[in-house]
């Protein structure tokens, strides 16, 4: 029977959760890299035992770790993330110019077909690529040096490139999202980039429908429909059907459209999941109730999923990289909270159970299906 492996990054280490295809009995392994912030772990779709981890600390900076055996052992690889050429300036919180300064890697996105090729999204925002399993990193400078770069400004979490989606059909197309610049797309393998934020409206910036400046929290794509992207923005849940050329709001009847993660069902491209959060100033679920909302119509109509989730006195958040789906026949959904719980559903979200309850605050969750 197939099994699943859940890769969990937390404020104080990495954890690997495994189960067979029934997803009832779980083994919790960790912490790996105890005491370090693990912003993200991710596995290669082409070789699931090839894992990459972003390990960082305010004291010691950025480390990238690689495992070639599914997380049983790890080795540090390259950590030289240099801004290539003229570093340039972006806007600081107070509106003054400030030079780009590397802080950490938020997200690692392995290639769909080459285990040695992996992309890394940085704070301050930049995109890197390694083609040798993480030993050397090359910046794709066309993004950071885009003409709008001097207008980019950090969100509260920093000016981070947090989402990287490679197109499953067109190898030259990549989508990235940056807080708080917006979404960008390349159609030439990363040489040149275009902002694709038409249709976004953000009350937090002076020109609400500006070309850049939107605090996009997360993007999600179903691989069968690479032109359809779903977005959780700072406020608003959005959708594009033309690869980002235009966006429309699909918040519909959500109780609040502020939130961080968004995910698409593995087998139903119009089934989408979000976790509404009270507001931009109250980063916890509304009314003390942890509810995942599911739309089976590609947005606009949403239903709360509550079975097995705490419905009183719960005040956690779910961060942008902390929700994932597996590809088993009955799609599994997973998310981790700032309270250290990792919840799983093995029935498309109809019911939930905690895998583990008391980890450090969860920063990221990824799901792998194993043979």
């Amino acid at each position: 029977m197939s099994g699943v492996r859940i890769l969990v990054g937390t404020r104080k280490g990495a954890f690997i959760l495994t189960a067979d295809g029934k997803r009832k009995d779980w083994k919790v392994d960790g912490p790996h890299f105890g005491g370090w912030e693990i912003y993200h772990l991710n596995g290669s779709p082409a070789e699931p035992d090839r894992l990459y981890a972003s390990q960082s600390s305010g004291w010691f900076g950025q480390i990238i770790q690689r495992s070639d055996n599914g997380g049983q052992s790890w080795n540090p690889v390259g950590n030289d993330f240099a801004y290539d050429g003229d570093v340039g300036e972006h806007l600081w919180y107070d509106g003054t110019p400030r030079p780009w300064e590397f802080k950490r890697i938020w997200h690692l996105e392995p290639s769909r077909n080459d285990p040695d090729t992996v992309y890394a999204g940085a704070e301050d925002a930049a995109l890197y690529r390694s083609t040798d399993g993480g030993q050397k990193w090359q910046e794709l400078t066309g993004l950071r040096t885009h003409a709008t770069g001097p207008q980019w400004q950090p969100g509260a979490g920093g000016m981070c490139l947090h989402t990287i989606i490679t197109d499953p059909v067109d190898p030259n197309r990549i989508f990235v999202a940056i807080s708080a610049a917006g979404v960008f797309r390349t159609d030439d393998g990363g040489t040149s980039w275009s902002p694709i934020n038409k249709g976004l409206r953000s009350a937090q910036i002076p020109d609400q429908d500006a070309e850049v400046g939107h605090c996009v929290h997360r993007l999600a794509m179903h691989p069968s429909r690479p032109n359809v992207l779903f977005m959780q923005k700072h406020w608003d849940v959005m959708r594009t059907d033309d690869a980002g050329d235009s966006w429309r709001e699909i918040s519909g009847d959500l109780p609040t459209d502020f939130g961080f993660p968004i995910a698409v069902h593995a087998h139903e491209p119009d089934t989408v999941y979000v976790v509404p959060i009270t507001s931009d100033s109250e980063h916890y679920v509304p009314e003390g109730r942890l509810r995942v909302y599911r739309s089976r119509s590609g947005g606009d109509q949403w239903e709360p999923l509550t079975a097995g989730l705490p419905q009183a006195n719960c005040y956690v958040n779910v961060l942008r990289d902390a929700m994932a789906v597996d590809t088993l026949d009955e799609c599994g959904i997973y998310f981790g909270t700032t309270g250290g719980q990792v919840y799983a559903s093995s029935d498309s979200g109809d019911s939930w159970a905690p895998i583990v309850r008391d980890l450090p605050a969860v920063l990221s969750v990824e799901a792998q299906v194993l043979p």
Binding site: G35, G58, W59, P76, D80
Partner: protein, 98 residues
């Protein structure tokens, strides 16, 4: 031999226990010692000194012989007792964070 004591996280990263002992040719300075340490343990590159600037990372300190050497020039000679191996050079994580 020069004795260097690294903080626990960096010992784990480099997979070492106890002190590191290194031989330095020429004048024994912070830069010379750390260059040898990083050469032997490349995974420590960037964790003590910033990759691009070569500056000490903000939350690390260098102590020896009950003195704070963190802000001395990287090419200044280290105390004689460090040079002779009588006292270790301590790389210390500053008290910060949680």
């Amino acid at each position: 031999m020069i004795r260097v004591v690294l903080p626990p996280h960096l010992r784990n990263l480099a997979r070492i226990s106890g002190e590191v002992q290194v031989a330095v040719t020429g004048t024994v300075t912070l830069r010379a010692v750390l260059d040898v340490v990083e050469d032997r343990y490349p995974m420590l590159q960037g964790t003590i000194r910033d990759r691009s600037t070569g500056q000490r990372r903000a939350f690390l300190r260098f102590f020896a012989c009950e003195e704070d050497l963190s802000n001395q020039p990287p090419d200044a000679p280290l105390p004689d007792r460090v040079t002779t191996g009588e006292e270790p050079l301590l790389v210390v994580g500053a008290m910060a964070g949680g």
